[in-house]
């Protein structure tokens, strides 16, 4: 029964904590703990709630639009509570890089344990090589403790700036940071040519440019241009259809479809947009990618609808069968006073049409899915 598709399904190589040997439960735990409990994938733009639980930004936003509480502990939560969990994001990317290597080591270890006679061999050198690779990624992450743990680096050794992550000589790092992370050459130039008030001015204006964009004038257009600001929630009921279309057009989104379609599109876009901002700047998707995602999502929804209409023809062809079933069920309904006498009949009639109509829809659905993949 469970032959082809299930086999195909299970043969897919999807990273899962069970890839690690059973004897390394802590590795399984580690692998699980960097996965979102909603989508089971590695966290994408992880955010934390007030209760401390973390989820992918998109997953939790979608969930909060349905139920305003944490999926893990049911504590009340709103979108306003979401805070990007940057450390977790870094852990995930470091783990993704080190996972194949650790997995390989764990498997080697397991194989070695299976061969009883041979003793420890030269696994140790590779063991040493391993953590060093991992720590090269993670040392970047642990920026606050950056001067490599233990001894103070020599003046000429290269370190990462804890602010901008640029690599420079240790002796230059203070000057570099004092000058707002300017490249060292320009700093020294400025130093030689007396720090004029002019440079300070430009620096201040650089700093201030990070503040809300000129809120005068056409605020709407500006908001669309500025990629760093989350989109506010919209009360769609108060908008006219034209306004809704304008809002979509602002972001270069299609303005076709009726009101519910437009609303859903804008809601989804807002969700995607804001979730994207919860990722660290380097990992963010471009506008075009977000638009492509939205298009894909809409197409999937459309397909679903079409499949249901296909199902109408199924209803037509089986009309006679359904009539018979209804007829068979009706006597049961007619005498509700004695439910105890006919539970078997009720049960058999409800169970008999084996895949219920609902799952019929899905049969079509999953067929296509498998064909596609």
């Amino acid at each position: 029964m469970n032959s082809n598709k299930l086999a195909v399904l299970l043969a897919q190589d999807i990273p899962d904590s069970t890839d690690f040997p059973k004897k390394a439960p802590f590795l399984r735990q580690l692998d699980d703990s960097v996965c979102c409990t909603i989508c089971s994938k590695y966290y994408e733009g992880p955010v934390s709630l007030l209760c401390g639980h973390s989820f992918c930004s998109m997953c939790i936003r979608e969930n909060l639009s349905i139920k305003p509480h944490c999926p893990a502990c049911r504590q009340n939560a709103t979108e306003g509570n979401l805070r990007p969990n940057l450390v977790l994001e870094e852990i995930v990317s470091a783990w993704k890089l080190s996972r194949p290597y650790v997995l390989d080591l764990a498997k080697q270890e397991e194989a070695r344990a299976a061969e009883p006679a041979k003793k420890k061999r030269r696994l140790s050198p590779s063991c040493v090589a391993g953590p060093s690779r991992t720590s090269s990624t993670s040392s970047k992450d642990s920026s606050p403790s950056d001067p490599p743990e233990g001894d103070v680096p020599k003046p000429d050794s290269i370190v990462n700036c804890p602010v901008c992550d640029r690599r420079l000589k240790y002796k230059e790092i203070n000057t570099h940071m004092d000058n707002n992370c300017a490249p060292i050459s320009s700093v020294s130039a400025a130093k030689s040519g007396a720090p004029t008030s002019k440079t300070q001015k430009t620096q201040w204006s650089d700093l201030m440019r990070g503040q809300p964009p000129k809120s005068k004038g056409k605020g709407k257009d500006k908001a669309a241009e500025d990629d760093d600001y989350p989109l506010p929630k919209v009360s769609y009921d108060t908008l006219k259809e034209k306004q809704l279309r304008d809002k979509l057009a602002e972001h270069g989104l299609p303005t076709t479809g009726d009101r519910p379609v437009l609303t859903r599109r804008h809601q989804r876009w807002t969700m995607q947009w804001n979730a994207n901002l919860d990722k660290s700047a380097a990992k963010r998707q471009t506008k075009a990618e977000l638009r492509a995602d939205l298009k894909k999502w809409e197409e999937q929804r459309k397909n679903k609808k079409e499949k249901i209409t296909v199902d109408d023809s199924h209803l037509k062809t089986h009309r006679e069968d359904f009539k018979k079933l209804v007829a068979a069920a009706q006597p049961v309904k007619a005498k509700p006073a004695v439910p105890e006498s006919s539970p078997a009949a009720a049960r058999s009639s409800s169970v008999a049409p084996n895949p219920p109509p609902e799952s019929d829809i899905i049969v079509v659905d999953s067929d296509d899915e498998i064909g596609d993949s």
């Binding site: 029964m1 469970n2 032959s3 082809n4 598709k5 299930l6 399904l9 299970l10 897919q12 999807i14 899962d16 069970t18 409990t37 909603i38 989508c39 089971s40 994938k41 997953c59 979608e62 969930n63 349905i66 139920k67 999926p71 893990a72 049911r74 999937q300 679903k304 439910p339 105890e340 539970p343 078997a344 009720a346 049960r347 409800s350 169970v351 895949p355 609902e358 799952s359 899905i362 049969v363 659905d365 999953s366 067929d367 296509d368 899915e369 498998i370 596609d372 993949s373």
Partner: protein, 148 residues
């Protein structure tokens, strides 16, 4: 890839590493539709029974709960004669952090701890409230008759 990764992962684990007393296998023609069996928990009137259930993952899963139904007849205050189950996590207390496995474990736990104060089968619940021993005897008889 339109079957969500989460469903594939859950299926993999259910098949490779089933929870004790529970089996769940998807239909080959519909990977969202599972055949489930649950063993009656020891110490309950359903002990030694093997109950068949069906489980279906709707399109919205995991944002919406799976649909679960008993196919085997069972005498239980929270399960009606159509096999529908009264369990909060299958309704309003659903959370996407729950899984097929946890849902089925909860159903198994429900067999050990019938709750006649929140009935779905009022007559069975009444029986359980008024004469627990007698009701348990019927549950045992039904288990023997239909679930073994």
């Amino acid at each position: 890839m339109s079957l969500p990764k989460r469903i594939i992962k859950e299926t993999e684990r259910l098949v490779a590493d089933p929870a004790p007393g529970i089996t769940a296998a998807p239909h080959d023609d519909n990977l969202r539709y599972f055949d489930v069996t649950i063993q009656g928990p020891d110490g309950s009137p359903f002990q030694q029974g093997i109950f068949k259930l069906e489980l279906f993952l709707p399109e919205e899963y995991p944002m919406a709960p799976p649909k679960v139904r008993f196919l085997t007849k069972i005498y239980h205050p929270n399960i009606d004669k159509l096999g529908r189950i009264c369990l909060d996590i299958l309704k309003d207390k659903w959370s996407p952090a729950l899984q097929i496995r946890t849902v089925l474990l909860s159903v198994q736990a429900l067999l050990s701890a019938p709750n006649p104060d929140d009935p779905l089968a009022p007559d069975v619940a009444k029986h359980y409230k008024e004469d627990e021993q007698g009701a348990q005897r019927v549950s045992r008889e039904w288990t023997q008759q239909y679930a073994s």
